[in-house]
Amino acid sequence: MSIAQAGVLAIAIVCGVTLLAGALGLKLSRTTSDFYVAGRSVSAGWNASAIGGEYLSAASFLGIAGLVYALGADMLWFPVGYTVGYVVLLVLVAAPLRRSGAYTLPDFAEARLESRHVRALASLLVIGIGWLYLLPQFQGAGIALSTVTGAPPALGSLIVAVVVLANVTAGGMRSITLVQAMQYWLKLTAISIPAFVLLALWWQSGAAGPNVTSTGGADWAQALSGFGGREHPVYATYSTILALCFGTMGLPHVLVRFYTNPDGRAARRTTLVVVALLGLFYLFTPVYGVLGRVYLPTLPDGARADSVTLLLPSVIAPGLLGTVLSAILAGGAFAAFLSTASGLTISVAGVIDQDFLARTIGRRAGGDVPRIRTFRLAAVVAVVVPYAASWLAVNTSLADTVGLAFAVAASTFCPLLVLGVWWRRLSVAGATAGLVTGGVLALTATTITVLGGPGSVGGGWLGALLAQPAAWTVPTAFLVAVLVSYATPGSVPVGTSRTMVRLHAPEDLRAADPPTRTD
């Protein structure tokens, strides 16, 4: 069996199992509430696995190894940031967000600030961040399929888009919870077993050191050396850490998972397990970058650094073993694209449905249109736009694009959530000003970087600031939100104290559960 055949088989199995698990879940999903958040009846262990499964995306599975391979030691901060982001989320907002009783970020914005305008703004941002994050998932699928089988990249993207759509429109999140939890363990197996085998082979063959020669005296293995032509590595490192640590809480698909915890306490405990699961996974990803430096001093023509994980097995272990390992990695990578893309699609589609489609279609049809039907339509919109965008030639690497999605989330939702949860003087005007400022600054920097590719504005400080915007956009957004709130004490929501009690008081003190939203 050739590598191509084995890879296709592994990818087909992953897609098939995903669809099957989705179909099984369909039997359980009955009401709209079930459809969105699994009826809040998911246990902590399942939930943590599901969060891990959903979170470990193309950027984690292929992107980190690619970055470490291409740019060296500083890229190790990416997986650290992805993990610490959950600790920051845990410490600042996990329990209060669960206690807010809302489904989505816009729900929280509306409940806390009692304003339809802030809600609409939050909805637009969820869609923007979701699409920005979906884009590299589709790209990654294209890279993976073409690396393993030589098929055109557009085909891999299409497969992921179709499987995700089928799964999301059929089963909603209940099925997805089951699928996601399974995906975490699948991905951990797929990344760890080949890593152990390849490391053993490397050790056996004499453990040659990684190839660290480079241009301009920069050392691949040395921290902050600016290897790979990155200017201002110190600034870039700090800014990346900030974006990833504070962006996690603002990702649309991350937050919706917290509503499947039974209460605030369970939300915290689930998050703790998530931190452990992510840390475990990220021990393995840099291994591929390092081994890439040992065995692949130069990439084959046309290959991107993101494909180094998939190229390695056949180089280190030609023959059957390499074929099997390649197939395992290709299957794991597809699991990563499918799970992250499913979670994002659910979230983005939920917002498109709730805030835009349901109302418009309801008005046109002059009556009630079943919510499930509008949700399915919204899911199509949520997938098609980033899929089409993935066709445009985009030069940034997978992990870089994902990093920009984090930067936008950190500049917009992080101030909204942190100030909303902890600061009673946050006013509607302040929150709006913060969202707009952070959103405009971060999205502008992102658009220039993604469309133009790195270095399009020339090197130097401007390029560094635009490529890693979080270090200046996040503080600016916080500052604007706080200053405007101080200037407009009149627009502090009337029910702020009541909301704060709901966010912070332990559930056992409550007379009864807060009324759950049914729409």
Binding site: A73, V87, L90, L224, V234, Y238, L272, V501, P506, L509
Partner: protein, 130 residues
């Protein structure tokens, strides 16, 4: 209700009571969260105390994480020699950032979860004792 029906069952007796019955009787409890939500002066004080305790804990944990996560690159910048220290064959930055940082971060998260639950337990006990 006012005209009793001759054949039906006798009308249920309605007890008319004074508004004083709304007042608390000894031993009768209102749900503690109600006091908080009604924004009585006392409820406000309790909520502020809870918020302050939780926020102080959160900031302390965040500070600890920042010392590790932002402190490492700062160390590498300020003391460039640390970039070249090797532990066995592995450079120190690779070992610290690639491996050791994860258990440290998990430990911080674990401490936070236990402390946050303790604060909430104490708060619940306090509210119930009243």
């Amino acid at each position: 209700m006012s005209t009793p029906h001759p054949t039906g069952p006798p009308p249920r007796r309605v007890r008319i009571t004074s508004p004083r019955r709304e007042a608390r009787r000894p031993g009768e409890r209102r749900p503690p969260a109600q006091e908080l939500e009604e924004q009585t002066g006392l409820g406000e004080v309790y909520l502020s105390a809870l918020l302050r305790a939780q926020l102080r804990l959160s900031l302390a944990i965040l500070l600890g994480i920042a010392v590790v996560v932002l402190g490492l690159p700062t160390l590498f910048v300020l003391v460039p020699a640390t970039r070249d220290i090797h532990v066995g064959p592995i450079p120190l930055p690779w070992l610290a950032v690639g491996v050791l940082i994860y258990p440290v971060v998990f430990l911080a998260a674990r401490i936070y979860v236990y402390q946050a639950e303790r604060i909430e337990r104490e708060f619940s006990d306090l509210m119930r004792q009243r």
